[in-house]
C-alpha cells in the first residue's frame, strides 16, 4: 500500500520524459474537434469514439505502468482505485484526482477532478448549447480506465456523470467493477 502512495510521484520525477502540457492539450482538442466534424456533431457518436480510443490506450498504457513500477497484482478494489489515481494519473498526467462515493459493496467508486485539475480541458470552453449538454469532452479517460483495468483482469463499466465543462461543480468519472476475469486458455484445450 505504501508503495502505491509514493511510486507514482517517484516515476514522474525520475523515470519520465516530459512534454509541454499545452502541446498535449491542444493535440487532444484537435482530435475532439476533428471527431465533431467527422461525425457531423452527433455527440453520442463522438463520445463513443473517444471512449474507444481511450480503451485502446488503456490496453497499452497499463503495460508501461507495470513495467515502470513493478507493481504486483492488487488484492482489493480499494487498492486498485488507489493505484489508478496515485500511480496511473500521477505518472502520465502529473495529477492525483480524488477518490470518493464508494458504494457499500466496495465495487463502485468515483474519480473526481475538482475544477482546474483536468489537463485535457486546460483551454476549453464549450460554447454550443447542445454540445454543452451532450458532449463528454474528456470521455477518452473513461475508456483508458476501462481498458487498463481489463488488462489486469478487472472487467468494469466507466462513465462520466458530471463535468465542469457542462457547468457542474466538479468532474466525476464513475467506475463500476463488474467481475474478475478468468485466465483465457487456447481454444480446443480443456
Amino acid at each position: 500500500m505504501s508503495k502505491v502512495r509514493t511510486i507514482g510521484a517517484d516515476v514522474w520525477k525520475h523515470k519520465t520524459d516530459k512534454v509541454s502540457l499545452e502541446l498535449f492539450t491542444l493535440m487532444y482538442g484537435s482530435i475532439v474537434s476533428q471527431l465533431c466534424d467527422d461525425f457531423e456533431h452527433d455527440y453520442t457518436k463522438v463520445n463513443q469514439q473517444l471512449d474507444k480510443m481511450g480503451y485502446n490506450i488503456g490496453l497499452r498504457l497499463i503495460e508501461e505502468v507495470l513495467a515502470k513500477t513493478g507493481l504486483p497484482r492488487c488484492h482489493s478494489f480499494r487498492e486498485t482505485a488507489d493505484a489508478v489515481t496515485r500511480v496511473g494519473f500521477k505518472m502520465f498526467l502529473n495529477i492525483t484526482p480524488q477518490l470518493g462515493n464508494w458504494s457499500v459493496d466496495n465495487k463502485q467508486f468515483s474519480i473526481i477532478f475538482p475544477p482546474g485539475t483536468n489537463p485535457l480541458v486546460e483551454f476549453v470552453e464549450c460554447y454550443d448549447e447542445r454540445a454543452r449538454r451532450e458532449l463528454w469532452y474528456s470521455n477518452i479517460l473513461a475508456g483508458v480506465i476501462r481498458g487498463a483495468l481489463e488488462m489486469v483482469q478487472l472487467s468494469c463499466e466507466t462513465e462520466f456523470v458530471s463535468d465542469v465543462l457542462q457547468g457542474a461543480a466538479q468532474t466525476e468519472l464513475r467506475v463500476k467493477i463488474i467481475k474478475v476475469l478468468e485466465d483465457e486458455v487456447p481454444q480446443g484445450e480443456e
Binding site: 514522474w12 519520465t16 520524459d17 516530459k18 512534454v19 509541454s20 502540457l21 499545452e22 502541446l23 498535449f24 492539450t25 491542444l26 493535440m27 487532444y28 482538442g29 484537435s30 482530435i31 475532439v32 474537434s33 476533428q34 465533431c36 466534424d37 467527422d38 456533431h41 469514439q49 480510443m53 485502446n56 490506450i57 497499452r60 498504457l61 508501461e64 505518472m91 502520465f92 498526467l93 502529473n94 475544477p115 482546474g116 489537463p119 480541458v121 486546460e122 483551454f123 476549453v124 470552453e125 464549450c126 460554447y127 454550443d128 448549447e129 454540445a131 454543452r132 458532449l135 469532452y137 477518452i140 465542469v164 465543462l165 457547468g167 457542474a168 461543480a169
Partner: protein
C-alpha cells in the same frame, strides 16, 4: 498578427456554430458558469508538463483513426497535417502572448522563419529546432530541420507504409503558424535520417508568391 486574449479550443469549430458566443455576456441563456471560467486564468505562465507517453498514446490513436479513414499513405499524411493545423493557429497566439511587452507582429520573412525555428519550437518542444536552410533549387523554399522529432520517437513504420512520416502533424502545425501570421505556404515533412540521427526530419516550407511581393 492578432493576439487574441483567449486561444481557447472550441469544442466544435466556430465556423459551423451559429450561436458561437464571442463574449461571455452573450451567453445569458447558458447555466451560470462555475466560479472560475477558463477566461479568468492567466495564459502568461506556462502550464507545466505531462509525460511524453501520454502524448504518444493520444497521438497514436490519432494516427490509427486517420489511418482507418484514409485510402493511402498520402491521405493519411494529409489528415495528420489537418490535425496539426488546429494546433498551429493556437500555438502562434499563445507564443506571441507570452512574449509580453516584446510581442510584435513579424512582417518580414527571415525574422518570421527565425521566430518559428526558435520560439514556436520552444512552445511546442521546449527547445529550438536544430537548423534552418534556404533552398538553393527553389525560390521561396526553406527547410527547418529537427534531428529528433518528438512525434516519431516510438514509431517503427511497417514495410508496406515505408513512405509514411508521422511528422506530417508537425508540418501541419508549422503551416498553420505561418498562414495565421499571413505567410501562406505549404509545409511537408520528409524523413532524411543520418547515421547519427536516424529520425532526422526536414520540414520543407514552400511559400506562396504573394509572400514575395511583400518581402
Amino acid at each position: 498578427m492578432s493576439v487574441a486574449p483567449r486561444p481557447a479550443v472550441p469544442a466544435k469549430p466556430s465556423s459551423s456554430t451559429p450561436n458561437f458566443a464571442h463574449e461571455r455576456n452573450d451567453s445569458v441563456s447558458t447555466p451560470p458558469p462555475p466560479q472560475q471560467t477558463v477566461y479568468d486564468r492567466s495564459l502568461a505562465r506556462k502550464r507545466g508538463e505531462v509525460s511524453l507517453s501520454a502524448f504518444a498514446y493520444i497521438f497514436s490513436e490519432a494516427v490509427q483513426y486517420c489511418h482507418s479513414r484514409s485510402k493511402d499513405v498520402s491521405e493519411l499524411e494529409h489528415r495528420l497535417n489537418l490535425l496539426g493545423r488546429h494546433i498551429g493557429v493556437r500555438v502562434l497566439e499563445l507564443t506571441v502572448l507570452r512574449e509580453g511587452k516584446n510581442a510584435k507582429r513579424e512582417t518580414r520573412l527571415m525574422p518570421m522563419l527565425q521566430f518559428v525555428h526558435t520560439h514556436i519550437w520552444r512552445t511546442l518542444f521546449n527547445r529550438p529546432a536544430d537548423s534552418m536552410q534556404v533552398s538553393t533549387e527553389e525560390q521561396l523554399q526553406y527547410m527547418i530541420i529537427d534531428h529528433r522529432p518528438l512525434v516519431t520517437e516510438y514509431i517503427s513504420v511497417p514495410r508496406d507504409m515505408s513512405q509514411l512520416n508521422c511528422a506530417a502533424l508537425v508540418a501541419g502545425i508549422v503551416q498553420s503558424v505561418f498562414s495565421a501570421a499571413q505567410f501562406p505556404c505549404k509545409v511537408t515533412a520528409h524523413s532524411m535520417g543520418t547515421d547519427e540521427f536516424p529520425d532526422r526530419t526536414v520540414y520543407v516550407v514552400k511559400f506562396e508568391d504573394s509572400v514575395l511581393k511583400r518581402v
